[in-house]
């Protein structure tokens, strides 16, 4: 009888401990520095939490909101764990990476991934009047009318996720401009997956 109670308590203990919502079995959170403040990226700990935001929608009109391919040319597609690793790496002094939220501002202002910079896909189009300024700022050099991307940091690009072409468009524009595909990473899950996992939003 006594041993049964002990086993029950152990099991109960396990159930209570299982309440932790970790990122992986070994990773509870990622702490990063953004400006003067530190941000902890973790999952929402309330196991009853449900999405009530726009990311709970299943059926948006296509076009414009169509399912995106897994691969865009030879650009590497990454998931959340790889992205978190890169976000951690970006904290290092010699990190040469930039996390880009390629959505238009009205989407991005509703919340984005910590450490990301909003650079709408429309501004990376060939005919964008801001293109020259943006590419120069990124470190690209215009040599005889062609852009050289050697000094540009590796760009991880995302948008709303699997149903949104904004990141796809940004990537295609950069490649068209001459950016090597290995300078770009595509986080296809985007804000949809980030939200569904309950990860911290800035």
């Amino acid at each position: 009888m006594k041993s049964r109670v002990i086993i029950s308590l152990i099991l109960l203990g396990n159930i209570l401990v299982a309440g932790d919502v970790k990122i992986t079995e070994d990773l509870k959170s990622v702490v990063i520095q953004e400006g003067d403040s530190s941000i902890t990226i973790e999952r929402i700990q309330d196991t009853k939490h449900r999405l009530t935001s726009n990311f709970s929608k299943t059926s948006r009109e296509c076009p414009p909101f169509c399912v995106q391919p897994m691969h865009i040319g030879d650009v590497e597609t990454i998931g959340e764990l790889e992205l978190l690793k890169y976000i951690q790496d970006m904290q290092k002094d010699d990190a040469d990476m930039l996390l880009i939220d390629a959505r238009t501002r009205d989407w991005s202002k509703e919340g984005s991934i910590p450490t990301s910079t909003n650079l709408p896909f429309t501004m990376l189009k060939k005919n964008s009047k801001y293109l020259k300024k943006i590419l120069s700022l990124l470190g690209a050099k215009n040599i005889n009318g062609k852009w050289n991307f050697d000094k540009v940091p590796t760009m991880i690009i995302f948008s709303n996720g699997i149903w949104d072409a904004q990141a796809t468009k940004a990537i295609k524009s950069l490649v068209e401009l001459g950016c090597p595909e290995d300078k770009i990473l595509y986080y296809r899950g985007g804000m949809q997956n980030w939200n569904i996992l309950g990860l911290t939003i800035k």
Partner: protein, 302 residues
């Protein structure tokens, strides 16, 4: 030697951090500036929604004054609405750059603006006359004969402006279209309620009774469809409906008021008290529906 090395490493590290934050804030600055231009463009939309509503508001108030219904109050209201219409209209047509853009869509655009200017000038004069003398029949006739034309002309001008602002990028234009349809439709009931109350008053005054009875019935039918569409969605009206609790709450309030307005509008004869209620409900509806417009914009229902 070691301290020197550490110092150099620290400086390299710090400069890299600062370079990155410079890059990020530089990009943010460029995007912010681009957004400022977009915000300016969006103001046109705001003008559009209110101007449509005002055309019908003025026509309704002119009628109320002619019916001796709280005349001194509505004389002030009428003039205030006309002044606001005039200010917005001038702001818009004085923007040469915008007109040039819109002319790319319709080469007759400048001429159309001149035509609208002419009608508006006469309309404004008529409003001023009625605000001084509520019994001025010629001015009332001009307003009642021309308010729908003014409404259509203003809608035409704004549609062109909106189209001229459209992005050349297919994806962005398509996303913007969804929003602009939503904002256009969500603002419409305010115009329609004024229009149909005006039509009911015209019937009451025996002015073009048959024609106005038909218009009223059509307005009521459209209003029913529109109110349902804002809540549940409608393919024809390109609306998806909403699940936003705050918006649904307000829509439920405005639906209740709309049902009251509808019932009064459909009555064959209305008493003075009922007329008073009709006008009050008309205004109450506009207030609630204005909150719906505000909440819809805030919710940024993507």
């Amino acid at each position: 030697m070691l301290i020197k090395k550490i110092t150099i490493l620290l400086l390299v590290g710090l400069s890299s951090i600062y370079a990155k934050s410079d890059l990020m804030s530089g990009l943010t600055d460029i995007v912010d500036k681009a957004e400022e231009v977009k915000t300016e463009n969006k103001k046109v939309l705001d003008y559009a929604f209110k101007q449509r509503m005002r055309t019908q508001w003025m026509a309704r108030d002119a009628l109320l004054i002619s019916m001796d219904f709280n005349s001194s109050f509505y004389q002030k209201e009428l003039l205030a609405n006309a002044d606001a219409f005039n200010e917005n209209f001038n702001n818009l047509i004085n923007s040469k750059e915008d007109i040039k853009k819109a002319e790319k869509i319709d080469s007759n655009f400048s001429k159309k603006i001149e035509d609208v200017k002419e009608i508006w000038s006469k309309f404004y004069d008529s409003v001023k006359n009625i605000s001084k003398n509520g019994k001025d029949k010629d001015s009332l006739k001009f307003i009642e004969d021309n308010n729908i034309k003014l409404l259509d002309d203003i809608a035409y001008i704004f549609t062109n402006f909106i189209q001229s602002y459209q992005s050349t990028d297919k994806l962005e234009a398509s996303m913007a279209h969804i929003k602009s349809m939503l904002y256009t439709q969500v603002g419409k009931p305010r115009m329609y309620i004024n229009k149909l109350v005006k039509e009911r008053l015209l019937i009451e005054q025996n002015i073009n009774k048959k024609e106005n009875q038909d218009s009223l019935e059509e307005s009521i039918k459209y209003m029913d469809k529109l109110m349902k569409a804002l809540k549940d969605g409608d393919k024809d009206l390109e609306l998806n409906g909403t699940e936003d609790i705050k918006i649904l709450e307000k829509l439920s309030n405005s639906q209740k008021i709309w049902e009251e307005v509808k019932a009064l509008s459909l009555k064959k004869k209305i008493t003075k008290d009922e007329l008073q209620t009709l006008i009050l409900k008309n205004e109450e509806f506009i207030k609630v529906q204005t909150e719906v417009v505000k909440l819809t914009r805030e919710s940024n229902d993507n």
